[in-house]
């Protein structure tokens, strides 16, 4: 199984990044991605090229290096369909703002290629560069430009909660300052840039901060259950290992994209004892577990989280067996959403490979994530500190009112 794991693929990905025409599987996948980006910029519809797959998960797949046969097939099909890759990106809807929107998406994609950079941070960086390269001469113009850029980013992938939240937060954080009204344009602009940089920096550091604040919760001899692969959670565990804490980790497999395997691999490299479980073995092994760590795609206003499929049931099992569930999430994932139940979200779809052909009359649930209500979460580790779920809403209200 290891050959499919992330590190292997990621390494390759770096080597192969430029040679996209190779028939190698990896590069084909990459081709598909970059193609989708370019076609999108080209058409300016700014929508996910393949509505059946959440763009968010495409990105994750690129970063986590997980491949499914469906994807490969799609990638191939895509290549076949439209080999033109170098369409000038500026050729788009209206002459005035085309260059702008182009540069945002382009910039965003540049940043996004760094596997360690979260999507939201990439978006924040991209937006900051919009300010920098803007030729606007009035504050209003700049603001409108920024708004357009963030809108185009958001509509690039409507399924990514952190992208949307990151853009919103950026707009809030950067543009909402009283001082702007009293300054001349240039100084105001430089102030905006300053704030944008600062926000980007904060977002970058968020993962470190979270790793630091969560150390107190990991004690020697504990067993931690982890679901899926989350860079924050990995950072937390890595820091704990660096701090010479003795603990053991249970990794779920993380179907369908098997992100758990990657985490297990990474942890094994750090000499942390790891055990792999299939997703359905969570309840079976829960009595050995001391705490559960999960990441989050988004933290919603109720204080609950939206995360990879399976988080909800793990939280339920943990709750019924009185184990604490800890969520590690950067504050740019705080979103103004309030799902009432599982179906009350924009679905992010992800194809599932069952290994055998599925009869056409059988329906497959392809939703990639679920919503865990706040009552099943114990604490949230964020760069704002360690929060209870109910504080999330307070923070959001402070931010958005």
């Amino acid at each position: 199984m290891w050959w499919r794991s992330a590190s292997f693929i990621l390494d390759k990905q770096f080597q192969d990044e430029e040679k996209e025409q190779e028939v190698d599987l990896e590069s084909r996948r990459l081709t598909r991605l970059s193609l989708s980006n370019s076609t999108m910029a080209e058409t300016e519809t700014l929508q996910n090229p393949n509505p059946k797959i959440s763009a968010y998960y495409q990105t994750r797949a690129a970063h986590h290096g997980v491949v499914t046969s469906d994807w490969l097939a799609q990638a191939q099909a895509a290549v076949g369909r439209d080999p033109v890759e170098t369409t000038p990106l500026g050729a788009s809807k209206s002459a005035t703002d085309s260059s702008k929107s182009f540069s945002v998406i382009d910039e965003f994609n540049n940043w996004r290629k760094q596997p360690d950079l979260a999507e939201a941070v990439a978006a924040i960086r991209a937006l900051a560069s919009v300010i920098r390269s803007s030729e606007a001469t009035t504050m209003m113009e700049l603001e409108i430009e920024l708004k357009k850029a963030s809108d185009s980013l958001k509509s690039w992938d409507t399924t990514s909660i952190s992208l949307t939240a990151g853009c919103d937060l950026f707009m809030r954080y950067v543009t909402r300052t009283r001082a702007l009204e009293y300054e001349d344009f240039n100084s105001a602009k430089s102030r905006l840039m300053e704030r944008a940089e600062k926000f980007g920096e904060i977002s970058c550091k968020a993962r470190r901060i979270i790793a630091m604040v969560s150390q107190d919760f990991i004690f020697d001899g504990c067993t931690i259950l982890v679901h899926g692969f989350s860079r924050v959670v990995f950072e937390v565990l890595k820091t704990a290992a660096d701090n010479k804490k003795l603990f053991r980790v249970f990794c779920t497999e993380g179907r369908p994209d098997r992100t758990g395997l990657r985490l297990a691999n990474e942890l094994a490299k750090l000499d942390v004892p790891v055990k792999l479980l299939i997703d359905s073995a969570v309840a079976y092994s829960m009595d050995e577990v001391d705490m559960i760590f999960v990441g989050a795609d988004g933290v919603v206003e109720s204080g609950g989280i939206i995360n990879m499929m399976g988080t909800y049931q793990i939280a339920l099992v943990a709750h019924s067996m009185s184990k604490p569930v800890y969520v590690a999430a950067e504050s740019y994932k705080f979103a103004r959403l309030y799902p009432l139940d599982q179906k009350d979200m924009a679905p992010a779809l992800k194809p599932i490979d069952f290994g055998v052909p599925i009869p056409s009359r059988v329906e497959v649930e392809t939703s990639a994530r679920d919503y865990t209500p706040p009552q099943y979460l114990t604490l949230l580790f964020t760069d704002l500190g360690v929060l209870t779920p109910s504080v999330v809403s307070d923070e959001l209200i402070q931010l958005y009112l």
Partner: protein
């Protein structure tokens, strides 16, 4: 009922008065209010027991005790000759004269029955406030009196024995938070006898009551004396001297009001505002407890609406007003053309409340504000008054009338608080017409911004939570929920509505009719069947009368039942509530604050002659019928609150209350 208002303004809000309250407490309150015209004619009346002496900021219980004990002579304390200084001290001075009067007289002449009370009450009624805001108005007049005192005190040197009392005085003021200790007095302060402090702190209820009694006696005596004095000496100064104080205050006020008030007013304002503001942010005032006989009596005496108490009152709810229903309306209607102080618009709205023609939190609130607008429009400041104070008093009296008609909803309370803060924050430089225009536009802004626009925002949010195929349950009739359903229908969403209703009001039927007209698919059922119908429901939308800081929902009785059943079935419960209805109070049950409806409504069943077993229930001594209007739903059963600030969990209500206050009342 007036007393409810007065008590609110005066009694320290932190003392929650359930059950017994020392008799004197209510009396303390009213007197401060002399701002109203009528009293001037009867100087002695002003001498009501400790009344005048209470500063609005004071903590009452200790105060009574200490008052009585050291009958301080206040005039002395206020020697400050310079005007500005006097300004500071005046509040102190003004309160005390009555006290000192009491004190002296009690020493010299014992009992005679208290006559003046009624008058006092009257005054208090006018200016007394539902909300704490009103104090500023009161200050002014008392202040004016004080100013006079100060000057007279100088002229008449009767300082001697007072020095002893003086000491006591100081601590009182400090304690009370009136805060402005005269500069001259400061040195004295140090010597104050420790006993006074301890006394203040330790007096028991019984002791306090004893003190009240003696005080009352003293007052009566003083009054007699004062009357004599007043009669004998027309001039202010002589009167003052004679009683040492008695009587003079009111008469002086009258005479000098033109001079003093204006000065006092200007000075006062600057001083009191910040203080007021702080107080405002403090705790909300307690409500009137109707099991407190004294205050109820008093309230009744000057009520416009003559309510008769219901006979078989429900024991657990004694603290709430329980009146015979349906008796007052004809009476009041006939009085419509004889009203003196009440503006016709207010009167009309009051009657509509009473008759139940206007119901629903938003509708009542808007109707009330519109009537206020009308009355402000027709308002003109009487001579020798300032608009800010007089209008506050007026509004308070209107509010008290409306309370008599039907207890205020919390949304109305918030709106009134807003209006009062608007009035008090009017810049002094505005001319009357400008001030009125400002107020009118403020009210308009409130209605538009906090009710109408808020509803639109709520609808926008809520509609996103309705999906095709949903079955939406709603209870009774809520204007916002109706808007949400209609708007979702207009957007072409395919959903079904279940309207759950309950006796006796059957408000759901009117909602049902309106929805049917628009072509929605509806199911109508009574609350008895809620557990049956709930399994097919996917969303519950509820309206609210108020939401408290702990997330408790306060709404039409039966809501809690619906929410609990929904919770048990795992159906999300969405509460739609405008942020102006939020209240910082924390409430755990529906007992301590509620409204009782007409018990007859539940004893009779419309159109069912055979159900007549309760026809003569009034005559049955051991039967009490309870018709509650509201109930409290614990936060646990609520999934989400939709407000104009977005969709928030119940735990965020305090945050919004805080934010909202910053936005609104500052």
């Amino acid at each position: 009922m007036d007393s409810r208002r007065t008590s609110r303004s005066v009694i320290d809000p932190k003392v929650r008065q359930v059950g017994f309250i020392p008799a004197a407490a209510p009396q303390l309150l009213p007197d401060r209010t002399q701002s109203c015209p009528p009293l001037a004619s009867s100087p002695p009346s002003d001498l009501s027991p400790t009344g005048n002496s209470l500063s609005p900021v004071m903590i009452p219980p200790p105060r009574h005790a200490s008052d009585n004990i050291h009958l301080p002579s206040r005039a002395v304390t206020v020697p400050g000759p310079a005007r500005p200084a006097a300004g500071d001290e005046l509040p102190v001075g003004s309160y005390n004269p009555s006290e000192s009067l009491l004190g002296l007289s009690s020493g010299s002449s014992p009992v005679s029955p208290p006559l003046s009370k009624v008058n006092d009450l009257e005054f208090s009624e006018n200016s007394s406030d539902w909300f704490r805001r009103s104090d500023s108005g009161k200050y002014a007049t008392s202040f004016a009196g004080g100013g006079v005192d100060a000057t007279t005190a100088k002229s008449s040197d009767f300082v001697e024995n007072d020095s002893a009392n003086l000491f006591v005085e100081k601590p009182l003021n400090e304690v009370s938070g009136a805060g402005k200790v005269p500069s001259t007095a400061v040195q004295v302060k140090n010597d104050l006898p420790p006993s006074s402090n301890s006394l203040k702190g330790k007096t028991t209820k019984a002791e306090r009551r004893a003190l009240q009694e003696s005080q009352r006696a003293a007052k009566a005596a003083a009054k007699a004396e004062g009357n004599k004095a007043a009669a004998a000496s027309g001039g202010v100064a002589p009167a003052y001297k004679k009683g040492n104080f008695s009587g003079k205050q009111p008469s002086q006020k009258k005479d000098n009001s033109s001079v003093t008030t204006s000065i006092a007013a200007t000075e006062k304002k600057g001083l009191d505002r910040p203080q007021d503001k702080e107080r405002k942010k403090d705790v909300p005032p307690p409500r009137m407890q109707f099991d407190d006989k004294n205050r109820v009596e008093k309230a009744k005496r000057h009520a416009v609406v003559k309510q008769t108490e219901a006979r078989n009152r429900v024991e657990l709810f004694r603290h709430l007003p329980q009146y015979e229903h349906g008796t007052q309306l004809p009476d009041l209607t006939s009085k419509f053309f004889q009203l003196d102080s009440m503006h016709p618009a207010i009167y009309k709205v009051g009657l509509q409340f009473l008759a139940g023609d206007i119901s629903g939190g938003n509708a009542r609130c808007i109707a009330m504000l519109k009537s206020f607008q009308e009355s402000i429009n027709n308002y003109s400041t009487p001579p020798e008054k300032t608009l800010v104070r007089d209008l506050t008093g007026k509004v308070s009296s209107y509010v008290s009338f409306l309370i008599e008609c039907r207890p205020l909803s919390i949304s109305m309370g918030n709106a009134i608080r807003f209006l009062k803060s608007c009035i008090v924050n009017l810049p002094l430089t505005l001319s009357e017409s400008e001030a009125k225009a400002t107020l009118l536009s403020d009210i308009d802004r409130f209605i538009n911004h906090n009710i109408i626009l808020a509803d639109k925002v709520i609808v926008q949010h809520a509609v996103t939570k309705i999906r095709d195929g949903d079955v939406i349950l709603t209870y009774a009739s809520s204007s916002v929920v109706e808007m949400i359903l209609l708007s979702a229908h207009e957007l072409g969403k395919k959903f079904r509505v279940v309207i759950v209703d309950s006796r006796p009001k059957l408000e759901g039927q009117s909602l049902l009719r309106r929805l049917l007209v628009k072509g929605l698919r509806c199911t109508y059922t009574h609350i008895n069947a809620v557990s049956y119908i709930m399994h097919e429901v996917t969303r519950v939308f509820l309206g609210a009368s108020s939401v408290f800081a702990n997330g408790t929902l306060y709404s039409r009785v039966g809501t809690a039942c619906v929410a609990m059943v929904a919770h048990a079935f795992g159906v999300p419960v969405l509460v739609c509530c405008e942020a102006y209805k939020f209240h910082e109070r924390v409430q755990l049950d529906s007992i301590c604050s509620n409204e009782l409806g007409n018990p007859d409504a539940i004893s009779k069943v419309h159109d069912r002659m055979d159900v007549n077993l309760l026809d003569n229930w009034i005559t049955k001594e051991n039967l009490q019928l309870l018709n509650l209007t509201y109930d409290a739903t614990p936060a646990d059963y609520i999934s989400m609150i939709i407000t104009d600030y977005g969709m928030v969990p119940t735990t965020s209500v305090p945050v919004i209350v805080r934010q909202y206050r910053e936005h609104l009342w500052v």
